[in-house]
């Protein structure tokens, strides 16, 4: 169900959150500050990322520290690798395919 991951990443604040988490974990309020949004929105976005399995929580006192969940990135990597024939093995096949269909075209290619 990789589409849940795409939906989670299709929002600017959440994409930013994920990229910030590449450096280190952050708390909810830290995200609110870094993204210049209010705390409730930060909570909501983190909840969505959490439900998408991209993030997990680490409770320290009242603070909820969020970190990246490698698992979901693994799956995403696998999904993309299922397309890897596009730019690896079949680069020649693609070329021949284009060459083959070129004659069917009106010269705009």
């Amino acid at each position: 169900m990789v589409i849940k991951t795409f939906k989670a990443l299709a929002e600017p604040n959440r994409l930013r959150i994920v990229e910030l988490l590449k450096e280190k974990p952050y708390s909810v309020n830290e995200f609110a500050e870094l993204l210049d949004i209010r705390q409730p929105q930060a909570s909501k976005h983190l909840k969505i990322l959490n439900e998408a399995g991209m993030v997990f929580v680490n409770t320290v006192a009242q603070r909820h520290i969020y970190s990246l969940n490698p698992e979901s990135f693994c799956q995403l990597d696998e999904w993309i690798n299922s397309f890897s024939t596009l730019w690896n093995n079949r680069l020649d096949n693609l070329d021949t395919h284009l060459r083959k269909t070129r004659k069917d075209q009106d010269g705009t290619y």
Copy 2:
């Protein structure tokens, strides 16, 4: 601008289109049939995928044959690989981290 790619893939029909294109190129009407949607929606979805740079058109007579654009998948692959330290180099660090924080989680792990 990888977020445009995520937005494009965050819709079930478009995700399906991309996965169908993994096999071979298709025309607009073929997508409409395969996805059981009407032709205009197929056109619109393909337009969005095209504007996101994930797909390119090959005009054959009146038919518009759509194929995957490897470039965008390359970029997506690069984006994900920028997170690769998550599941490669630091697998041991992650393991000890999880071991340390496991008691704070809700048991779904």
